[in-house]
């Protein structure tokens, strides 16, 4: 992004913030739902300084990462199996198509029943949600591995395991990374959603608490923070993708 573009992009948000601040000063709001931008900034600073914001972030991010690890790994295994064996893929088609459309939040009460409140329930739901994109994209990625590479691996007599480790996974890696990136975004979204809906943990719960204790400045501060984390995660993974794979990244997956 050039300087001129950055100025243009920042103009509107800055203008809106300035207008909100002016309006808040002028009319002197005492509201349960609105807060002046300066008050939001102050609340953000306070929450960062006393460590509470970092604590909530840690809870949310830890759940998201653990869920992503479980779900992603399981998804990778299924994607690998389906991609390597078209027969298995056809056999499992109906069960998969029946399970996949279940919205992850529909499992909230089920997980609540099994695990009660806490990390385990949240991680289970995140794992379910991040399982599918990895499995589905992974299957396509692995089924799309250049057939000649597979022939070569057969020619040089690689066993099935070393074939997967040396040929299949490296060849499919760029697309697998895209799947991982999508799943990472989903895991953060699902973590916050579960926390807002019922789980008393992390950033989502902090948001709900701030609203219920009528502290709009803290509510907007946490919201802004959630936005920053989401944006940073997205940016980081995109940068990693460009760095690691460059032009090998699949077209249309740069966003």
């Amino acid at each position: 992004m050039t300087g001129a573009q950055a100025v243009k992009g920042l103009a509107l948000p800055l203008l809106a913030v300035a207008a909100a601040e002016l309006a808040a000063r002028h009319y002197g709001i005492h509201s349960d739902s609105l807060a002046a931008p300066s008050a939001v900034a102050l609340a953000l600073y306070e929450a960062l300084r006393d460590g509470s914001l970092l604590g909530w972030s840690g809870e949310t991010i830890a759940s998201a990462l653990l869920g992503l690890a479980f779900g992603g790994l399981a998804g990778l295994v299924l994607g690998l199996a389906l991609g390597l064996s078209p027969r298995l893929a056809r056999l499992l088609e109906v069960p998969i198509e029946l399970l996949r459309p279940i919205p992850s939040v529909a499992l909230l009460p089920v997980a609540l029943l099994i695990f009660g409140f806490g990390f385990r329930m949240e991680i289970a739901i995140i794992a379910f949600a991040s399982f599918w994109p990895v499995a589905i994209i992974g299957q396509a990625a692995i089924a799309g591995v250049e057939p000649r590479l597979m022939e070569v691996s057969r020619m040089i007599g690689l066993g099935p395991l070393s074939r997967i480790a040396k040929i299949v996974l490296p060849a499919a890696l760029p697309r697998l990374f895209v799947a991982f990136r999508l799943a990472a975004g989903i895991s953060l979204i699902v973590a916050v959603t579960v926390e807002i809906a019922i789980n008393p943990l992390g950033l989502g719960y902090a948001l709900m608490q701030a609203q219920q204790t009528l502290r709009p400045e803290l509510m907007f501060a946490v919201l802004l923070w959630v936005g920053i984390i989401g944006f940073a995660l997205n940016w980081l993974l995109l940068a990693a993708q460009r760095r690691l794979f460059g032009r090998a990244a699949p077209a249309g997956a740069t966003r």
């Binding site: 992004m1 573009q5 950055a6 243009k8 992009g9 920042l10 103009a11 509107l12 948000p13 349960d32 739902s33 056809r90 056999l91 499992l92 088609e93 109906v94 069960p95 198509e97 029946l98 399970l99 459309p101 279940i102 919205p103 992850s104 939040v105 529909a106 499992l107 909230l108 009460p109 089920v110 609540l112 029943l113 099994i114 975004g185 953060l188 979204i189 916050v192 959603t193 807002i196 809906a197 019922i198 950033l203 989502g204 948001l207 709900m208 701030a210 609203q211 709009p216 509510m219 907007f220 919201l223 959630v226 936005g227 989401g230 944006f231 995660l233 997205n234």
Partner: protein, 254 residues
């Protein structure tokens, strides 16, 4: 793959579902998993059919579907209109693009507390959250589709002295359509998720509230019946939109 072969694979796959169902029944009958967590399939389906034929399950399913579709339709209209307005002008794109990019990864559910602060635990709040959260895929797809019109087509438009509306209708919209439809499909999934969460939080009638209450009362057959219905809603809506997409985009294959 021949038609017969494909059909027999499909049959085998259905058979596998039956085997899974039998395994489910065996596990619950033997008490390998506590019935509090996992009801037997027959009790689940009894609860499902009893709820649909006599109880209020059907009404609650309709309430959820209605909420999902209303929020989604609202978001589609606003998203495409707003996206067209932004996408058609380079100036607007540069002005708003970065802000949109910042808002895009924000979890839609994070806006629920804000919406509650403004609207309370009401129907309007839930609908607003669904519409706002569902807006993004459509909006961004439209902006992108409008921005990526082949420049030579625009030159042709200038040659033919098309005005702005004609350029939009003849070039930009068809160019954006595949992206918009993909965005609408994604949006419907998001709308279903937000409907369920919204019902749970705001205590609005619907499947979301129903499964939460069933879980709190340890009525696992009712809970699983609700989950199955939600899965059916997700499956059916996805299927319908995929069919619509195929139909609407038929001209591209030609």
């Amino acid at each position: 793959l021949s038609r017969l072969k494909r059909l027999s694979w499909f049959g085998a796959s259905l058979l596998l579902c039956l085997v899974i169902g039998l395994a489910w029944k065996y596990v619950t009958d033997q008490g390998l998993v506590s019935r509090v967590f996992l009801p037997s399939p027959d009790r689940t389906f009894t609860a499902l059919f009893a709820g649909l034929s006599t109880g209020d399950l059907g009404a609650q399913m309709l309430a959820t579907v209605e909420r999902m579709l209303l929020g989604w339709a609202l978001a589609s209209l606003v998203g495409v209109a707003l996206g067209a307005a932004i996408g058609v002008s380079r100036f607007a794109r540069e002005l708003l693009g970065p802000s949109l990019e910042f808002l895009r990864p924000l979890p839609a559910s994070a806006l629920i507390p804000v919406a509650i602060a403004f609207f309370g635990l009401s129907q309007i709040m839930v609908l607003g959250v669904i519409a706002f959260g569902t807006l993004w895929p459509m909006l961004l797809a439209t902006v992108q589709g409008f921005a990526a019109v082949e420049p030579r087509l625009l030159e042709v438009g200038r040659m033919l002295r098309f005005n702005r509306l004609e350029v939009i209708a003849k070039f930009a919209l068809p160019n954006a359509l595949p992206d918009i439809l993909a965005g609408m499909r994604l949006g419907l999934t998001v709308a279903l998720i937000l409907s369920v969460v919204g019902e749970m939080l705001a205590g609005q009638q619907g499947l979301g509230l129903r499964i939460l209450l069933a879980a709190r009362a340890f009525r696992s057959p009712d809970l699983f019946a609700g989950v199955i219905l939600l899965g059916i809603i997700g499956f059916a809506s996805n299927l319908l939109l995929a069919l619509a997409e195929k139909r609407l985009l038929r001209w591209r294959q030609a």
